[in-house]
C-alpha cells in the first residue's frame, strides 16, 4: 500500500504539469483521411521511393518523394514534392524538399522518429498524405517530467523510507492487475527501461506452463505502462516482418520491419517456441549489436534496433513436470539455444511465475477483481491511470540517466569474479577465457539499471546487491534448466530426443539400449532423424568411450547424463 503522500504527489504532478500520454502514433493523421484536415503524427520512416516528374502541369525536372511513416501498428503513405500545384497541391521549395529527404533517409537508417504534418489529398486515384512539414522529434522518448519533479519524487520516497523501486513494485500501481513474484517484477521493470545504446539493452526470457498469464502480463502491465509491441507467433513472425524486405515496387528500397520500428523501445516474442529458427539466427546480431545489415542487390544497408526483447514461451508439448528434467523446458530455442541464452540478461524457466505459497489465492483475487472491473470503477481507474502516466514519464526520464559505476569498481569486479568462479556460472557459460565479457557487460548493465530505477545517476551498494541477487537467481534457473555442456558442444535437442527414444524403444533391461544396426537405422529414418542419428554415432563421452558402440551387427547405446557429452 503506497503512502498517501506519494499518491497525492503523483496525482498532483499529473494534473499540474499536465502530463499526457505521448507516444509515436500516426492515428491522428489517419483520422483525417476523409476530411483532409491538417494533421500531425509521429512515427518512423519505413520506406522511401523517388520519382522524377516532368509534365506540363508539374513543370520540368521535378521530384516526388514517396515514403511510409509507421508507429509500429499503422502506416501512412506520404508524399513530399516540388511539383507545381496544377499537378499536386503542397509544393515544397527545392531546399525544403532536400531537407525532408535528409530526415527521411536518416529516419530509415537510424530509426529516428519524425513528426510529420500535412493533409490528405487525391493523387492518381490514391488517397495520400501530402507532407507540409517534417521534423526530427525526440518527444516520444523525452520525459515530460522536469529534473526537479523527479528529484522531488525521489526525496519524497526517501522521506517515506522507500525507494522509487518500491513504488514501481507496489501492487497499487502498475501491478494492480497482475500478481507476480518480486524477481519477475524487477526483471520486467528493467525490461521497461528504454535502451539508447547497445550496452543498455536488457533481454529477458520467461518460460512457464501455459495459463500462467504471460500474455496477461503484457496486456495489463507492460503495454499500458511503456511502448511495447508483441510479435506474432510462428508463421506470422516472418523474416520480412521482423527485419524488412525489398519493396516489390522499387527494388532499390527496403521496407523496415518491426525491430527498427521499435528502436529504443521493446518487443515481446510471445509463444517464441513457434518461431522459425532462421528468425532466431538473425535475432542474434540484433540482440548483441543493436543493429543488423541487409544485403539486397546493390544495396548494403545497416538498420538500428536498440531495443529490449522479451521471450515468453511454454515448455515443449511433451514436457511433464513430474517426469521430465526441467532442462527439457527450453527446447523451444532450437539449435540456437546456447547463443540465445548467452544474450539473455535474465532468464526465468520455471513451471509457475510465483513461488509464494499464497499465490493461487492472490492470483484468483486479481482475476476476479479484473473481471469485476474494480480497477476501472469507484475512482480507482483515475488513480491507476495517473500512476501509470507518472511512472511512464519517470521511466523515460531515468532511462536517459548514465550512472557511472567507476566509484565501486573494485567491489563490482570482485563481486563479478565471485559469481564467475561458481560452478554454476562456469557450467552455464562454458567459459573459454579468463572472463566472460558479454556477461560482465550484462552484469554492469543490471547494476546501472537498478540505479536508474531508483532515479540516480550514480550507483550505490544497494544497486549492486540487487543486481547480484537477480543475476544469480537467473543463473540458478539456467543451470537447472539447460543441458549447457551438451548444447555448447553442439548436441542439440533433436539429437537428445532421438537418443532418448532409441533407449526407450530398444531398452536392454539394464537402463541402456541395444539392437541391430539395420533396425535402429530404420527406426531413425522412420522418425526422419537420420542426420541426428549420424551425429549421435560420432559422440564420445568424457571418459573417452563412445556413446554408441558397435559390436558385429549390434549397436549398444549408453544411457548417460547429457552434461557429460563431448562431440568428436
Amino acid at each position: 500500500m503506497l503512502p498517501k503522500s506519494i499518491i497525492k504527489y503523483i496525482r498532483d504532478s499529473v494534473k499540474k504539469t499536465p502530463l499526457k500520454k505521448v507516444e509515436a502514433s500516426v492515428l491522428p493523421i489517419i483520422n483525417t483521411l476523409v476530411s483532409g484536415k491538417y494533421a500531425s503524427g509521429t512515427g518512423v520512416c519505413t520506406k522511401r521511393e523517388i520519382k522524377g516528374v516532368s509534365t506540363k502541369d508539374s513543370g520540368t525536372d521535378k521530384t516526388l518523394i514517396s515514403f511510409g511513416i509507421s508507429d509500429g501498428e499503422n502506416v501512412v503513405l506520404c508524399v513530399a514534392h516540388n511539383c507545381n500545384s496544377d499537378y499536386l497541391a503542397g509544393k515544397l521549395i527545392d531546399s525544403k524538399l532536400e531537407e525532408v529527404d535528409v530526415l527521411v533517409r536518416d529516419s530509415i537508417s537510424n530509426g529516428h522518429s519524425l513528426l510529420i504534418s500535412g493533409c490528405f489529398a487525391n493523387f492518381n486515384r490514391a488517397r495520400i498524405f501530402i507532407v507540409d512539414k517534417v521534423e526530427k522529434t525526440e518527444d516520444t522518448h523525452k520525459s515530460q517530467l522536469s529534473k526537479k519533479q523527479v528529484d522531488d519524487f525521489v526525496a519524497l520516497c526517501k522521506k517515506e523510507s522507500m525507494n522509487p523501486i518500491d513504488v514501481l513494485l507496489d501492487d497499487d500501481t502498475i501491478w494492480s492487475e497482475f500478481y507476480a513474484d518480486e524477481e519477475l517484477k524487477l526483471a520486467i521493470l528493467l525490461f521497461c527501461l528504454s535502451p539508447f545504446d547497445k550496452g543498455d539493452m536488457i533481454h529477458i526470457g520467461i518460460i512457464t506452463n501455459p495459463g500462467e498469464g504471460k500474455n496477461h502480463l503484457v496486456d495489463r502491465v507492460i503495454d499500458p505502462f511503456v511502448r511495447c509491441r508483441m510479435a506474432g507467433t510462428g508463421k506470422l513472425t516472418t523474416f520480412a516482418a521482423m527485419f524488412g524486405a525489398m519493396s516489390s515496387d522499387d527494388l532499390s528500397s527496403i521496407e523496415l520491419g518491426l525491430l527498427p520500428k521499435m528502436n529504443h523501445d521493446r518487443i515481446v516474442f510471445s509463444e517464441f517456441q513457434t518461431l522459425n529458427e532462421e528468425v532466431y539466427g538473425e535475432l542474434l546480431n540484433v540482440m548483441s549489436d543493436g543493429h543488423y545489415s541487409i544485403q539486397k542487390g546493390k544495396l548494403d544497408v545497416t538498420r538500428h534496433a536498440n531495443l529490449n526483447m522479451a521471450f515468453f514461451g511454454n515448455p515443449p508439448k511433451h514436457y511433464d513436470e513430474g517426469e521430465h528434467n526441467k532442462r527439457e523446458m527450453l527446447q523451444a530455442f532450437g539449435k540456437y539455444t546456447y547463443q540465445i541464452i548467452s544474450r539473455l540478461t535474465l532468464i526465468f524457466a520455471k513451471p509457475s511465475l510465483n513461488n509464494d505459497v499464497d499465490a493461487p489465492i492472490k492470483i484468483k483475487r486479481k482475476i476476479r477483481q479484473s473481471m469485476d472491473k474494480e480497477f476501472s470503477t469507484n475512482g480507482n481507474q483515475g488513480v491507476l491511470d495517473d500512476c501509470r502516466l507518472f511512472l511512464r514519464e519517470y521511466m523515460k526520464y531515468v532511462s536517459k540517466l548514465l550512472p557511472k559505476v567507476g566509484a565501486i569498481e573494485p567491489i563490482l569486479e570482485a563481486a563479478f569474479s565471485a559469481i564467475e568462479t561458481t560452478p554454476q556460472f562456469k557450467e552455464a557459460f562454458a567459459m573459454r577465457g579468463p572472463t566472460d565479457y558479454r556477461k560482465w557487460q550484462e552484469f554492469i548493465n543490471l547494476v546501472r539499471g537498478f540505479a536508474r530505477l531508483n532515479g540516480r545517476d550514480y550507483v550505490e551498494d544497494n544497486d549492486l546487491m540487487a543486481a547480484m541477487d537477480l543475476f544469480q537467481k537467473s543463473l540458478i534457473t539456467m543451470t537447472e534448466t539447460f543441458p549447457i555442456k551438451a548444447l555448447n558442444k553442439g548436441v542439440d535437442y533433436k539429437q537428445m530426443e532421438l537418443h532418448k527414444k532409441i533407449i526407450e524403444k530398444f531398452k536392454d533391461g539394464n537402463g541402456h539400449g541395444s539392437g541391430s544396426v539395420i533396425e535402429i537405422n530404420k527406426y531413425a529414418k522412420s522418425l526422419k532423424l537420420s542426420t541426428q542419428w549420424n551425429t549421435l554415432q560420432k559422440i564420445t563421452l568424457e571418459d573417452g568411450s563412445k556413446l554408441i558402440e558397435t559390436i558385429g551387427d549390434t549397436l549398444f547405446i549408453k544411457n548417460v547424463e547429457w552434461d557429460t557429452f563431448l562431440e568428436e
Partner: protein, 109 residues
C-alpha cells in the same frame, strides 16, 4: 593527502567490508543456521582449515561437533565470516567457497 595517510585505501577497504557485511553476511548466517549440525560442522571446519593452514582444526574429543558448538558460542558466526573473506587494500575481495555456497543456497531456496 589521503594516500599519504593511507586514507583512500582505508576508505576502499571499509566500503568493501560494509558491502560484504550487507550482502554476504546475512545469507551466510541464515544458511549456516539452517543446516543440520553435522553439515554445519563440515562447512565451518572447512573455512577454519583453509584459513589456518598451519594449525588445522583439531578434533580434540570424540565429539568434534560439540567442540565446534563451543568454539562458535565463544566466537560467533562473524568470526568465521571474517575467515571466509579476504579484503585487499584496493577494495577488491575474495570469498571462500562456503560463503559462495551459502549465497547459492539462499537464493535457490
Amino acid at each position: 593527502m589521503g594516500h599519504f595517510l593511507g586514507g583512500i585505501d582505508m576508505i576502499q577497504e571499509e566500503n568493501t567490508w560494509a558491502f560484504l557485511r550487507g550482502y554476504y553476511y546475512p545469507k551466510f548466517v541464515i544458511i549456516l543456521k539452517s543446516l543440520a549440525w553435522d553439515e554445519r560442522y563440515i562447512w565451518l571446519r572447512d573455512i577454519y582449515n583453509d584459513t589456518n593452514l598451519d594449525s588445522l582444526w583439531e578434533e580434540r574429543s570424540d565429539d568434534p561437533i560439540k567442540d565446534m558448538m563451543e568454539y562458535l558460542s565463544r566466537k560467533d558466526y562473524f568470526h568465521f565470516f571474517c575467515m571466509g573473506v579476504t579484503v585487499n587494500t584496493d577494495g577488491s575481495y575474495k570469498i571462500h567457497r562456503v560463503v559462495s555456497n551459502c549465497v547459492y543456497r539462499f537464493l535457490k531456496d
